[in-house]
Symmetry: none
Subunit: 197 residues, 4 copies
């Protein structure tokens, strides 16, 4: 039992992993193509090429699928921000912020419909521990970026910066903007303006 923990995945586990991913991918596609209202467990299973019974083998209920989708999105976002921070050779504030914004924007504008759908779904889900943890983690990273500016920033400031960026990125998604560079420039302007130089 315990011995197996760190062992390479058995074929069974590999297949299970593939099934889970097929289900998540199918869900994302349905959200993108037909919207939230068309996301039913039967359609997900069908599109994933899996039986409905199998879906319930891996997810206790429909909400769990959505939750997992959101979890993935959050992971990608945190990872993207981390990578942006690592990539940033200089510790210059502007460069770091720019890099972080670029990574987030890219994430959102890549599949704007999916991103918007997940944004919506997030509101449906109860404000659970996981959500709080994510926000704490993200705010921590943003804090790190803003810290490079020199002065200390308050929690409120961090939240405001996130709110500003989120508002502008979501609007860009809805407006089907595609010019990521321009969007980033405008968000930079808003954030820096807000921070008051």
């Amino acid at each position: 039992m315990t011995l197996a923990i760190n062992k390479r995945k058995t074929p069974r586990q590999i297949r299970a992993q593939a099934t889970v991913e097929a289900i998540l991918e199918a869900s994302a596609h349905i959200l993108v193509d037909f919207g939230h209202g068309a996301l039913t467990t039967n359609k997900i299973a069908e599109r994933a090429g899996v039986s409905i019974g199998s879906l319930y083998q891996y997810f206790p209920n429909k909400e769990a699928v959505m939750t997992e989708l959101i979890r993935h999105k959050r992971s990608r976002m945190l990872a993207a921000v981390d990578m942006a921070l690592d990539d940033t050779r200089s510790d210059v504030f502007d460069t770091a912020l720019d890099a972080v914004l670029a990574s987030i924007i890219q994430l959102q504008l890549n599949w704007p419909r999916l991103a918007l759908a997940l944004d919506q779904a997030e509101v449906f889900l109860p404000l659970n521990d996981e959500t709080i943890l994510f926000k704490v983690a993200l705010n921590g990273k943003i804090n790190e970026v803003l810290g490079r500016q020199g002065s200390k920033v308050s929690e409120q400031t961090i939240q405001d910066v996130v709110a500003i960026a989120k508002g502008m990125i979501e609007h860009a998604s809805l407006a089907r903007e595609t010019d990521e560079v321009d969007l980033r420039r405008r968000i930079m302007r808003a954030v820096i303006g807000y921070l008051g130089r």
Copy 2:
């Protein structure tokens, strides 16, 4: 005309008008108390103290109830902005912007749950003519405010300002902020910063 599109029948008697209002009020309460997922026509009718048949006498379907709710919210918002602009004796930019923000914030923080629920619902509804008209009208008013600053502003700028304010207000709603004055101050800072002096 436009108003009648989603109506099945225009109430002629006072009683009918009361029924329509009861339905809308009940819908708002359910949204606030239990959220979007609990909003069913039967529950609405029950809470409104009205038969399900009466609901369908005045609304062709469930979506129409939501639409009407959104329509009301938009009307209130435009009216509030108008009033803010009228009230502003001076033509000073800052004062006008402050007044407009105050009125909008007040609307949103008054019933934050309802406002958030309607924000969500708005995304579900297709971007129909009515939505476009509302955005044009709102942007026009914001343009008027920003114009008092002296220089001309682009459509993009207007949209960005709206996006910034919307993002910050929605975040405040979610965070259950209650200090409207502070929120307004921070939004002012972001907007003025974005506009660049």
Copy 3:
């Protein structure tokens, strides 16, 4: 009370009569334009320019409206047959049959959709006394026509002749035939052939 029975209709009665007729006419139009499935009491009242309450003033229920429509159709049919028989100067069998068929065909092909709809409705209604009386009356008249042929005819023969004519006329309705003369000729052929000269 009793004194009034034979008096000229009062204005009130005249208005009532007009309402009843408006209702029946509206029903016929709806049947013709939208079919049986679209015939609802509210639509009837609306199209008749009458309130739903008034409809129920004159008809105890929806079925009664249909029944009255069928009653009218039957009256027209019996009257048409009577007239055809009266008009026929000669007592020659062929001429009489031809005249009767002409009148019935004309009735059916005039508003084929209404006629078909009423044919259908007839089957829905229970086989009541009125229906039996109508059939007896019609068969009596057909018997009279067939009698002019010389020999006596059985009840079975009468029914068969009616069935043949009804089958052919209904098919002509469905097939949207318009050549009444040709249809009559073919029915004559079938009936005379059946009677065996």
Copy 4:
């Protein structure tokens, strides 16, 4: 292909096939026992000993159940006519017509109420491709029968023969006739008389 049009899902397991048959049988029984107006999806499912969900697993809507019933009836009719034609050793016209009539009459008088109900339902359904194909197929077979008479017959003649037979058989159904032999004799008389030797 054509068969699948109104099907939601083709049953793969024996259990599923049984469900579909139970639904159709229940529908037929309800039509026979209570008539068209009592045929509701809930009653069908209940009588079939199946959940309402199962009904909708195999039929997209209520109309599809009726359609399938009619489809079955048509299949039985075409098969019966084919068998009658095959059985008829001699190519004598009278014998062939007699055999065909016998098979059709037998079908209709077997469950007269069901047959009548389906006749009615047929009129409700739009004259779709399937209906046209059926009529063409049936007329083709009748043409074959009539052709054995020697002379060529027109399309009009075929239709008239079908209309005569249909009219008489339906009347026999309604009149609860049970003497199939006599009915066949009378129809033969009408058809042969119409054809005029």
